[in-house]
């Protein structure tokens, strides 16, 4: 059940970066009894995929990608309760938890990655900047992501990435999650030294690597 027309309008609202319209359509859809997962998958996700394809063809830029992802996030937030109650499953590649490590407040790279991961088919939980090691561990335990992404911009804060990996080991959670590291001061050598599962030099590569890590590439 679900009129194709409203799904088309939802797709359009993403392509037009119109959060207000998207939320209005969401309310209407819920009122007529459309399942939250269908709203996301049949309505809004299609818009995100279209923008993602345009981006891949060089017809849209990051600024459009992030704006489209923002629409998705607003809708997902509105539907958080309904999603839990739904019996359907989202067609996602996996769940990614990302954050900037303790002592580091830089976020732009992480924010770009978040948008690109969402377009790339992942569900992303961004826990912000200057995140204490213990919080990373707690959130891994709570959210059970397939991938944990650690961002650090400065050579003085990349050491925190090692701290998180050690803390995961101590908590018995190291094998429960794949850990990716990134940031301007991070090198492949460093990522191997700290025994991260993967390293990416930029957001596009990170998405491809994430897809590989969950076995979907």
């Amino acid at each position: 059940m679900g009129s194709p027309k409203i799904f088309d309008e939802m797709t359009q609202s993403v392509e037009e970066f119109d959060i207000d319209r998207a939320l209005k359509l969401t309310e209407i859809a819920l009122r007529v009894g459309i399942d939250a997962i269908d709203i996301l998958e049949k309505g809004f996700s299609r818009g995100l995929k279209q923008i993602g394809n345009k981006f891949g063809r060089g017809e849209a830029f990051l600024t459009e990608l992030v704006a489209a992802a923002n629409v998705m996030e607003s809708v997902s937030e509105r539907l958080s309760d309904e999603i839990i109650k739904s019996k359907k499953e989202r067609e996602l590649l996996g769940r990614v938890l990302i954050g900037t490590v303790a002592g580091d407040v830089h976020s732009i790279g992480k924010n770009i990655l978040k948008a690109m991961l969402e377009v790339g088919g992942f569900e992303v939980f961004d826990i912000g900047v200057d995140v204490p090691t213990s919080t990373f561990v707690e959130k891994v335990r709570e959210l059970k992501p397939e991938i944990l992404g650690l961002s650090a911009l400065m050579s003085t804060t990349i050491t925190e990435q090692r701290e998180v990996l050690e803390a995961l080991k101590r908590a018995g959670l190291r094998d429960a999650v794949k850990v990716m590291v990134g940031g301007a001061a991070v090198t492949e050598k460093w990522s191997k030294e700290i025994e991260a599962d993967a390293y990416a030099e930029n957001a596009s590569d990170a998405v491809k690597i994430a897809q590989m890590l969950v076995g979907k590439r």
């Binding site: 990051l62 407040v105 732009i108 770009i112 050579s155 003085t156 930029n202 957001a203």
Partner: protein, 477 residues
């Protein structure tokens, strides 16, 4: 002298200034360090301690700008290397953010080491057009919690020129200042003849983070020269428009300067502008683009408007290797920002691959480009001597000027002689081995590193520097 090239009219500069005042009054800044927040509150800002937001009224900002010294002397171990940083005078130097080196022999990119830092420093000391140093790279083979102390040690040993350097937190600032004062001959001597300037970055947009502000407070107490640098990304952490980036940058840097003046009025401060655009096709910052040159010129004009010395950027490339792309990207920026009078033009020599790879041969090539830029900046001297009517009359029609005294007297002053660029005939070039500029640059590197030595520090001082590092290592464990 610079200042000959402008992209902004005076009206436009005023508009940028007015927009900055609006941003600081209406939007305000985030100040995470409690002492700084309190100082702002006590001196007229509208402060919300919960959100750590400070809104700064224009009169307060104008007072801060007024207190900042209009001219700063930066010194090296040799007094002949003193820089007078003021007005439209341009100096050129290295960058400081690399973590990789392009290996001189293999051409491979590898991790940068303390040994690389020593060679970079000594080579920069030898290159005649490099006026000030930075580390070019951060040595990756030392304890990263105290790399600032390692870097300071190398610079104090290996150059007689002024150096910009890093300081990690209050402790780092104290240690590095102590090291420098040992070489300067005392704390007071260091204050009068600063061997180091310190670079602290704001976090865009509009944020002064705790550690950098804490470092600034410590440095301001000692009146050590501080460069407050904004490294925003157009479209990411700054507006996508160039004018908007100039406004944001202005708000961040001027408010940082204000805080330093509140801590200690008259603290030598330098306006730092290192913003660059983002390539929205992939999220990377791009550096070799014309927009960076435009920002560099615009900010030079702004700094001149305020009368505050400027740390600008020019000579940066997205190319990974010393190739034609590196050459044209660097040259376009260096000549425009030089002509604009960008005071301390950093990243001008040695940097490749945005700002992450250092290269010794690129340093030599950049030294050559900078030499050409400096000649352009000197312009054309017009006076009764150079107008040459007397000698024209003497030589007359169908004569020649070769043997004339006028020619002998003025030749070297009017015409620079290239050292690195090949200006021979094809035959001569082939006879010399048909070497391209990269080969010639590498040979120059090897020759300079072989022949150029720095006056060693006294053994007792060298030992004390080592001791400061040893104690810092222990503390950091």
């Amino acid at each position: 002298m610079g200042g000959k090239f402008k992209v902004l009219s005076s009206d436009q500069i005023y508009e940028i200034h007015a927009a900055t005042l609006e941003v600081l009054e209406k939007t305000g800044i985030l100040v995470k360090e409690p002492r700084a927040l309190k100082l702002l509150d006590e001196n007229g800002a509208d402060v919300d301690y919960k959100t750590k937001r400070a809104q700064i009224p224009s009169y307060m900002l104008n007072e801060g700008i007024a207190k900042a010294p209009k001219t700063i002397r930066l010194c090296g171990r040799d007094t002949k290397n003193t820089l007078r940083v003021e007005g439209k005078r341009s100096y050129f130097g290295l960058g400081g953010s690399g973590i990789y080196m392009l290996d001189l022999d293999s051409g491979e990119r590898r991790i940068a080491t303390k040994r690389d830092l020593e060679e970079i420093t000594r080579l920069a000391d030898a290159l005649e057009n490099i006026d000030f140093l930075m580390g070019l790279i951060i040595p990756q083979d030392v304890n990263q919690k105290i790399w600032d102390r390692h870097s300071a040690q190398v610079k104090l040993h290996s150059t007689m020129k002024h150096s910009f350097t890093g300081a990690l937190g209050e402790e780092g600032a104290r240690d590095v200042l102590k090291m420098a004062s040992l070489v300067a001959g005392g704390e007071k001597e260091l204050e009068e003849n600063p061997l180091f300037s310190f670079i602290l970055c704001t976090v865009s947009p509009l944020t002064h983070d705790s550690r950098n502000t804490e470092t600034a407070i410590e440095l301001a107490k000692h009146k050590a020269p501080i460069i407050f640098a904004c490294e925003s990304i157009c479209g990411g952490t700054a507006p996508v428009t160039l004018a908007g980036t100039l406004v944001l940058q202005n708000a961040e840097v001027l408010s940082a300067i204000l805080i330093a003046q509140l801590v200690n009025p008259g603290t030598p401060v330098i306006y730092g502008a290192v913003s660059s655009p983002m390539d929205m096709r992939n999220g990377s910052i791009v550096l070799g683009v014309p927009e960076v040159a435009l920002l560099g010129v615009g900010v030079s004009q702004l700094a001149q408007y305020y009368g505050i010395p400027l740390y600008s950027m020019a000579g940066i490339t997205d190319s990974k290797i010393p190739d034609p792309q590196a050459a044209y990207e660097k040259a376009l920026q260096q000549v425009l920002v030089g002509l604009a009078g960008g005071n301390l033009i950093h990243n001008a020599a040695g940097m490749l691959d945005k700002m992450i790879t250092g290269s010794l041969e690129q340093m030599v090539i950049d030294n050559e480009i900078i030499g050409m830029v400096k000649r352009i900046m000197r312009g054309i001297e017009v006076n009764s001597e150079t107008l040459a009517t007397d000698v024209i009359n003497k030589v007359g029609p169908a004569g020649n000027f070769l043997g004339e005294k006028h020619t002998r007297t003025h030749y070297l002053n009017e015409h620079d002689l290239s050292k690195l660029s090949d200006r021979n005939t094809r035959e001569a070039w082939e006879k010399a081995g048909s070497k391209d500029i990269i080969q010639r640059a590498k040979e120059t590197v090897k020759q300079k590193l072989r022949d150029h030595q720095i006056e060693p520090l006294e053994t007792s001082i060298a030992k004390e520097l080592e001791e400061i590092i040893r104690v810092a290592e222990k503390r950091s464990a």
